[in-house]
Amino acid sequence: MEEQQLVYMDHAATTAVHPEVVEAMIPYLHGHYGNPSSIYSIAQEAKEAVGSARVSLATALGADVDEIYFTSGGTESDNWAIKGVTYANRKRGDHIITSKIEHHAILHTCQYLEKQGFKITYLPVDQYGLVDPGDLERSITDKTILVSVMYANNEIGTIEPVQELASITHEHGVYFHTDAVQAVGHVPVSVRSTGIDLLSLSGHKFNGPKGTGALFIRKGVRIDNILHGGAQERNRRAGTENLAGIVGTGKAIELATTGIEEKGVRIRTMRDRLLRGIQDSIQNTRLNGHPLKRLPGNLNVSFDYIEGESMLLLLDSFGICASTGSACTSGSLEPSHVLLATGLPAETAHGSLRLTVDTDNTNEEVDYVLSTLPRVVSRLREMSPLGKQVTS
């Protein structure tokens, strides 16, 4: 394997912990070992550290400090929001609305609730992955207790019209949750002006540590706990706090939201150059997701006649880290539910490649990918029994 260099373009999967974040965390690993719930002074330092991380997150989202609850990641936040609101409001209704392109943390949770007798509407999306607010309007019934539509999709990067969706939801007196795991730290997010009642985020998607996240719960929202036990997080999320992780997430959100617009422009420029380069050098490709309403770093293209996982393995042999909506990466050979929802045929969906660019990428890396990818695609196409042996 010729491993010329390492080009990491899978930032939607996870990001490297920012060196300043590691630095902020280490004191809370090495010392400061109090349990934030204890009464003595060293524990109070731990408690204060958790408190100021909470302030950082609240500031970033435009929320109040006591609307932020730390969790073990985006998945727990999603599970909590969906199950917590559903169980707490079951007397008011049994109907939940979400979209077909949610992350599995939402979809599998909804499917679990379905087995318990709750009714779920999975809103369709158009070819770009956009939810139609009209569809939402028509789906709400007097049994609806929760609408959950993601802020931005993790595979195709499409940014949903959350403000419009939230406002329709509120007209019917229903709570609006958004899985903003891919959005927070990458595009400006403001819970108040968007009208969000609950919002999930995950630290490791914006250069924080893996295994920490948060749920924003607007004051007054009726929600059950999902982790019962001690009185942590104002009696709402039990369990000794992941002290270093929380401190790291606080630092990471500060760094991520500083100059977020400027960074977005830089990232978008690299991403667009990557897209043009791919379209110029490889035939039979298709851009997945919306051309404009998308996360700055997300690129998702399909290549006919080939399968994604083999593409990833070859790219890996050239030191390029990427992702696909196909195959065994997600535990099954099924093509991505997101791509299928946009109307892509299964065999094309199998040939999708996701490259997610971030601030730590460079133009040189973009060039390297552009010089490598056509070779990889053409090699796999030569091996493929499909198509007319189109080589790039």
Partner: protein, 148 residues
């Protein structure tokens, strides 16, 4: 996640391509499920004198195609028939059994192409067993291969 041998067969696959005027062609799998294995044989004197394959599928499908065609070259039809997915997997050493699905595809391909040859030569097909390895699960028509 793959063994050295797998990666070697993946990076430098043997016998990729087509055989013109083949003695037999067999295709298994389904593009909707993300995997196709197509095997081409040249047959003389009841022996496989050449074998080639093309594949569309997850990375783990390329190496078994390469290995399976290597294993059956030079073998009699009867011998080739006995090249099971286990043999392919063992030859590829250490492939995690979770990817067994993909070597099953190679075994099925061998059976399919041999029977295609037999049928076209009026020999009557041999009975292909159903593959129900515990590593596989039915998944809306497509087999599932776990990533662990």
């Amino acid at each position: 996640m793959y063994s050295k041998t797998v990666m070697d067969h993946f990076m430098n696959p043997r016998n990729v391509g087509e055989i013109k005027n083949p003695g037999g062609v067999g295709e298994v799998g389904n593009p909707v499920c993300g995997d196709i294995m197509k095997i081409f044989l040249k047959i003389g004197d009841n022996r496989i004198t050449d074998a080639k394959f093309k594949t569309f599928g997850c990375g783990a499908a390329i190496a078994p195609g390469s290995m399976a065609t290597e294993l059956i070259k030079g073998k009699s039809m009867e011998e080739a028939w006995e090249v099971t997915n286990k043999a392919v997997a063992e030859a590829l050493k250490g492939r995690p059994p979770i990817r067994m699905h993909c070597s099953v595809l190679a075994e099925e391909g061998i059976h399919k192409v041999i029977n295609a040859y037999r049928v076209s030569h009026n020999l009557g097909p041999w009975e292909e067993k159903a593959h129900s390895h515990h590593e596989e699960k039915d998944n809306g028509g497509c087999k599932t291969c776990y990533s662990g």
